[in-house]
């Protein structure tokens, strides 16, 4: 579950149109800094600063491949970035875990009845 700080980081990361465009490009697959900079009239260091913001928000992960640094889209924080739904999800997960236990209990009771 995301903390308020993490949610703020996600929304802050999304507040910039270049960063949103970078995320959109990464839906097509991982990309190097050069590949991500290509569509924009901005420098690679500027792109790198955007990538750092996205990485800190947990929206991308980065790894090395030979001499390149590849960025990878991590979509889960985006899907989770609705705070109200975080509580809603927790409510249902906890309730359904208890329902698992209840049905196991009811089923073992039914098995006993058929003995």
């Amino acid at each position: 579950m995301q903390s308020t700080g993490q949610l703020n980081a996600v929304f802050g990361a999304l507040a910039d149109p270049t960063r949103r465009a970078i995320l959109a490009r990464l839906t097509a697959g991982d990309a190097t800094v050069a590949e991500l900079a290509a569509p924009f009239q901005i420098s690679q260091p500027a792109i790198s600063r955007h990538l750092k913001v996205l990485e800190q928000a947990g929206l991308i992960s980065r790894r090395r491949r030979a001499t390149a640094r590849l960025s990878h889209l991590e979509a889960e924080p985006l899907r989770e970035a609705t705070a109200w739904l975080t509580g809603y999800r927790a409510y249902w997960e906890e309730s359904y875990d208890r329902l698992d236990e209840l049905i196991a209990e009811l089923q073992s009771g039914q098995d006993d009845d058929t003995d």
């Binding site: 996600v10 929304f11 999304l14 507040a15 949103r20 995320l23 959109a24 839906t27 889209l73 979509a75 985006l78 970035a81 609705t82 705070a83 109200w84 739904l85 809603y88 999800r89 927790a90 409510y91 249902w92 997960e93 906890e94 309730s95 359904y96 208890r98 329902l99 698992d100 236990e101 209840l102 049905i103 009811l106 089923q107």
Partner: protein, 158 residues
């Protein structure tokens, strides 16, 4: 059993959840409709459920509350149609602390061999209701964030 999925597309007034259980639809329907059973599982963590009415038939009323260290709060609504294992359950849902913001819940029990998928489909009166935008300082920021998610999510879904 399987992980809970929660789907709430930005810009829509819906929430859908699915969850698989190692049980028959009949058993799950019982757990959902028998008052003694529902009180044993449906509640937030660290809260106990106080079940009021629970009359599962067309026009039947339901009400329950939760009491915990953080206080107590209640919900209520009415069932519609002919609740059954095959048809599922259709009910209104209102939080006592937010009167008038009534949502509509549909719960179905889909058998798949040895398991059953329980699907809930909730329809709120507006996107704002769905997003829980009770008056708070965060409204502006969240709204802005949602607009951006709205624009971005269709592209990310692939």
């Amino acid at each position: 059993m399987s992980k809970l999925t929660v789907t709430a597309e930005p810009g829509t007034p819906f929430i859908e959840t699915t969850r698989d259980f190692a049980a028959t639809p009949e058993l799950l329907y019982r757990a959902w409709t028998e008052p003694e059973l529902i009180a044993r599982w449906l509640s937030p963590k660290d809260f106990a459920m106080d079940l009021g009415e629970y009359d599962v038939r067309h026009g039947g009323r339901w009400a329950y509350g939760f009491t915990g260290e953080q206080g107590s709060f209640g919900f209520r609504g009415v069932f519609h149609g002919e609740p059954s294992v095959e048809a599922g359950i259709l009910q209104t849902f209102e939080f006592d602390g937010w009167p008038g913001h009534v949502s509509l819940d549909r719960i179905t029990f889909e058998p798949h061999g040895d398991t059953t998928t329980v699907r809930t489909w909730t329809t709120f009166q507006s996107v704002a209701d769905r997003d829980g935008m009770i008056e708070s300082g965060m409204e502006g920021g969240m709204s802005e964030g949602y607009d951006k998610l709205d624009a971005l999510l269709p592209e990310l879904k692939g």
